[in-house]
Symmetry: C2
Subunit: 198 residues, 2 copies
DNA sequence: CCTGTTCATTGATCTGGGTCAATAAAGAAA
DNA sequence: TTTCTTTATTGACCCAGATCAATGAACAGG
């Protein structure tokens, strides 16, 4: 394990992105509240169906958020190191999670509990602002994803995925990519075939 | 026009939803900053392509947010009275708006300027919290929309729209509904035909 | 190294939505 | 009312993706 001093460097940077002048006075209490945990590839990090009380910063590794409609695993999103993950919807609403979170690779996560976050909101208005900015950023992410879902056909979505998230294609099995694009593995295979012959 | 005293009742209620103990001290300055304006059916409220500096509360009427990909108007969302509208994405990022806003019916709107809102954030931490809660709510709205886009076929989306937003079907021309569902008007017409024969 | 399992590809067939074109119905304006 | 325009429906044809089934390729465990 890293020396404690540098341990939370990445998550600190993450917050500084949103609030460059985050005070040390507000920052340090957060580190006390984080729960560090490791997961093996394939391990379930957060269960679907239960209320999710945590948001999790990915220090290392990659995870998928998935649901189980039609009895098959449908990929909602991939998350990689130095991002937050978790069923934010369930976290915010205290309703049962629509998504499960599973380790795609060996992972190290820092978990923050809902109650811990509320305490931070109460004690430091700075977190209220970070919370707003992060919620806004999440809104933007989903909005843009939406626009692409509506406007693009599967083939275009795949091309854009290659262009915009090249490494994702490398790190993620193809049938998960297919699911993420909203098509069957067979269809993605054919899309790829069609594209090479162009 | 309504007596000033009751004029902002609806928008006040809207904020109270998010922060029931919003102080009068914080509330009153907001009313000073709102710009009241009326629009005729078909009128453009907010231009696509320009940076959008406003969020707008719909006191009365209905609007659509649309884009113009492929040279045709594509409906992104419908908004009705007692909701906020506007290209929130452009508002947050100061990038050119991807969506235009148009009056579907005669409307009365209360506009709040970006700079006014920033001033409120600085003066009253209460607004920082409301801002966070609203951003979170918007996140939830687009997340749920997303899930439906991915998981449901056009026919199911139409059925759910009837179930969940019945009045929308009444108030909105069918070709806009089709666009909103992500299909052509012809396809929606056939979906409807298929459904009656069931 | 072999073996069983998981993942990817290919083929055959079906279907819902796209597109183009024509008509019908509904609304708006005179 | 009549007329003009906008909106909705229907038909014919095409195509991308779904589904089901079979085969190949890659990979992990022993």
């Amino acid at each position: 394990m890293k020396p404690a001093k540098f341990m939370f460097e990445n998550i600190h940077q993450y917050f500084l992105q949103f609030l460059p002048n985050l005070s040390a006075r507000a920052w340090e209490p957060l580190t006390e509240l984080l729960v560090v945990k490791s997961y093996k590839k394939g391990e379930i990090i957060s269960d679907l169906g239960a209320v999710n009380k945590w948001v999790s910063f990915i220090e290392k590794g990659a995870v998928i958020a998935f649901d189980l409609s039609d009895r098959k695993k449908t990929v909602y999103e991939f998350f990689f190191e130095h991002q937050f993950t978790g069923d934010y919807e369930s976290f915010l609403t205290s309703r049962p999670a629509n998504y499960g979170i599973e380790a795609l690779e060996d992972c190290e996560l820092y978990h923050l509990h809902f109650n811990s976050l509320q305490k931070l909101y109460e004690r430091f208005p700075e977190y209220e602002r970070i919370g707003r900015l992060i919620a806004e950023a999440q809104f933007l992410r989903v909005t843009q994803k939406n626009a692409k879902l509506m406007g693009e056909k599967p083939e275009e979505r795949y091309l854009n995925l290659i262009k915009e998230r090249e490494e994702l294609i490398q790190r993620v099995p193809q049938y998960y990519v297919a699911s993420y694009l909203g098509v069957t593995p067979e269809a993605l295979s054919r899309i790829r075939k069609r594209l090479v012959s162009k």
